[in-house]
């Protein structure tokens, strides 16, 4: 049942193909509760594929290997089951959905997860109170919550909205896919503060990023370099600095 503190997420020899083309070629990775791991790598190295496979996006074919989450077969679960069991993906490109109000979407999501956990659903008032509490420093105004989901949101607003969702859903395993991309320094700081506020002993995080700069604000416990669909190197947070200085070609080779 329990994979132990060192093994909330255990990825073993994971091979994934998209449209018959291999993208991931044998990933091995263990992330324990309370840990923050960074996955870095050049464009096309398979970072986003890894994020999507963990969240269960259709269209990704696992050709070999396994993923255990709390000792359970993650790959056998539907995307909604994963979410209800505490897996969260912050999207690199949050999807715009005209006609679905941001607030009603957030409420549906929170209540779906609460139902699964055997908790009573929130009514509109209780939910509003929760949002006001969770949005904390994210600078999310009521006006933004009244709009259609992600429609007309700036890049920064979309990323803040993702972090708000993470705060509301309180996942155990958060995968953040290039959450820093497209943000100016102020927005980056807001998002990083949001991430740091959610760090905790029961929560594991996987930060997927191309650049080291997010890691100036969110200090990882481990850094892994993804290249050619494999983890080519792992190390402490200094590895990120080395990558920034010497480039992927030098370090990951």
């Amino acid at each position: 049942m329990n994979g132990g503190t060192n093994g909330m997420l255990e990825i073993r020899n994971l091979h994934v193909a998209v449209d018959g083309k291999p993208i991931l070629n044998g990933i091995d990775l263990t992330v324990g509760a309370g840990e923050v791991h960074a996955i870095m790598g050049p464009n096309g190295s398979g970072k986003s594929t890894l994020a999507y496979v963990l969240a269960g996006r259709p269209g990704y074919e696992v050709t070999a290997g396994s993923v255990l989450y709390d000792g359970r077969d993650l790959l056998a679960m539907s995307p909604e089951e994963r979410a209800r069991n505490g897996v969260f993906l912050a999207f690199q490109y949050p999807v715009e959905i005209p006609g679905v109000g941001t607030t009603s979407f957030l409420k549906s999501a929170v209540n779906a997860v609460r139902r699964h956990r055997g908790l009573p659903e929130f009514d509109a008032m209780e939910f509003l109170k929760l949002v006001r509490e969770k949005r904390g420093l994210l600078k999310i105004e009521d006006e933004m919550l009244r709009r259609s989901l992600n429609v007309g949101f700036s890049g920064g607003e979309k990323k803040r909205n993702e972090i708000l969702q993470m705060a509301l859903l309180e996942p155990r395993l958060a995968v953040l896919d290039e959450t820093d991309s497209g943000l100016d320094i102020d927005a980056l700081r807001i998002v990083a503060d949001g991430i740091n506020a959610l760090r905790g002993p029961e929560r594991a995080m996987l930060l997927i990023t191309h650049y080291q700069r997010l890691l100036d604000y969110v200090q990882p416990d481990r850094v892994h370099v993804l290249a050619g669909g494999r983890i080519s190197r792992s190390g402490g947070k200094d590895l990120a600095l080395q990558l920034e200085k010497d480039g992927y070609a030098e370090v990951a080779a």
Binding site: G59, R82, A83, V95, G99, F105, A112
Partner: protein, 446 residues
């Protein structure tokens, strides 16, 4: 049309037997009009798919059923009588028709402002036949329409609404048409007439429902005349029984600065066709035609519209959106004509369809005919499945696939439902959409 083989409609032969029992039989002009009309039906036959306007909707199933004209009079509906679209507290004025016949015992007409007359068609034939005669002149272009002629021959009842100059009606007028076939496959041919004199304003809410699952043919024809600066809002819910045929035609003439706003939501019926023809016949006249359609199983739903911009600076806005599941088939035909002297006119048309099944089908046909040179006119049509990215995004937040689909479908239809200004009617339409989505198939693809 020349070498078109005639498809005779056996039903037309029943005219002789019922003619003597139709209202207004003592009026020579009406007897003549009915006789001419039935002769036209016989000469033209039922429209075939070879006619361009009927290319996508085949009326053969109508020929396969032995329809009988619905008898007038009062059959009991029992306690299961369906309600209309509007909540009970909003039904200040409601006319209820059972198999096309006005039922005063089920209807209610509250206090109407001076200048407003709301009566049944049969009553109007008795009380003011000459006034009615002028309204029955066939609309240009419908002389060769066999179905309009059939309605004229058989028309027995309906609603006649006259709004005097400058009068504004606050409460909507609700027309509830109940198809209640009692063993036999009944056909009924309501004729509704609405005249809005200059500067008047009103909302008419029309609900068509069926009781039980018997076969019937609801065949209303509606004539709308909108005077200078008058505004008519016309909402329709077509929620007929599962084996019903609903073939409707509405002809509208809008004078200068007048406006016709139509909303049609189709959820019921085996075969339905809602045809609306609007003539923007005065400067700055406007119309907004909005529609939604939800169909599953083997339902066939046809929305055919024609807007003629006859005068300068006329404006039309048209949006129809639908959701088709299983083997349902949808048809959207939108003809927009901008006449030579209708300069500075502005027309926009959009048709979007969500296909929830590989076997569902939409035939979408825009048809723009522009004879003026200084106009804005555009159209668009799309058909597609639910967006996988959106579905995954919702599911990745713990929302079940079925609930996520439902959210996306409701969102898709949301912008047409939201055009309904009357809050009570809008909420009722949204509830109808929700109920459809929660139906046996849950709005899901197989």
């Amino acid at each position: 049309m020349s070498a078109e083989p005639i498809r005779p409609l056996p039903y037309a032969e029943r005219f002789a037997a019922v003619a003597a029992g139709l209202p207004g039989r003592s009026l020579p002009w009406l007897a003549e009009l009915r006789a001419e009309s039935i002769a036209r039906v016989t000469a033209l036959g039922l429209p075939t798919p070879r006619l361009e306007r009927w290319k996508y909707t085949n009326l053969n199933p109508l020929l396969a059923t032995d329809f009988v004209p619905a008898p007038g009079g009062g059959q009991s509906l029992g306690s299961a009588a369906p309600s209309g679209l509007l909540p009970a507290e909003r039904t200040a004025h409601r006319l209820v028709f059972v198999n096309g016949a006005l039922r005063r015992d089920l209807s209610r007409i509250g206090a109407l402002p001076a200048g407003v007359a709301l009566v049944g068609f049969a009553e109007a034939l008795t009380d003011d036949p000459e006034g009615l005669a002028s309204l029955l002149t066939p609309t240009a272009g419908t002389e060769d329409d066999a179905l309009v002629a059939l309605n004229t021959a058989f028309m027995a009842d309906g609603c006649v609404l006259r709004l005097g100059r400058g009068v504004a009606l606050d409460e909507p007028i609700e027309l509830l048409f109940i198809g209640a076939p009692n063993g036999a496959a009944v056909a009924f041919h309501p004729r509704n007439l609405i005249v809005a004199d200059p500067g008047s304003r009103a909302t008419v809410v029309e609900t068509h429902v069926g009781m039980g699952s018997g076969v019937y043919w609801s065949h209303p024809v509606c004539g709308v005349t909108i005077g200078d600066g008058a505004v008519l809002t016309h909402l329709k819910l077509l929620d007929d029984g599962p084996r019903a045929f609903h073939i409707a035609r509405t002809d509208v003439r809008v004078a200068a600065r007048g406006r016709y706003d139509s909303f049609v939501l189709t959820t019921g019926g085996a075969v339905s066709r809602d045809e609306i023809a609007v003539a923007l016949d005065g400067e700055d006249a406007e119309c907004r035609l909005t529609g939604g359609y939800l169909a599953r199983g083997r339902q066939h739903v046809d929305n055919t519209t024609e807007i003629v911009h006859a005068k300068p600076r006329t404006v039309s806005r048209e949006v129809y959106k639908g959701v088709l599941d299983d083997r349902a088939r949808g048809v959207f035909q939108g003809r927009i004509v901008v006449a030579e002297d209708a300069q500075k006119s502005d027309g926009h048309q959009l048709n979007k369809t969500l296909l929830l099944s590989d076997h569902a089908e939409i035939d979408s046909k825009p048809q723009l005919e522009i004879y003026a040179d200084d106009v804005k006119c555009s159209h668009g049509a799309t058909a597609g499945e639910l967006e996988e990215d959106a579905l995954f995004y919702l599911r990745s937040r713990g929302i079940a696939e079925s609930a996520a689909r439902r959210l996306l479908i409701e969102a898709f239809l949301g912008d047409v439902i939201e055009t309904v200004a009357d809050a009570g009617a809008q909420a009722a339409l949204a509830r109808r959409v929700g109920a459809w989505l929660g139906g046996p198939d849950g709005g899901r693809a197989p």
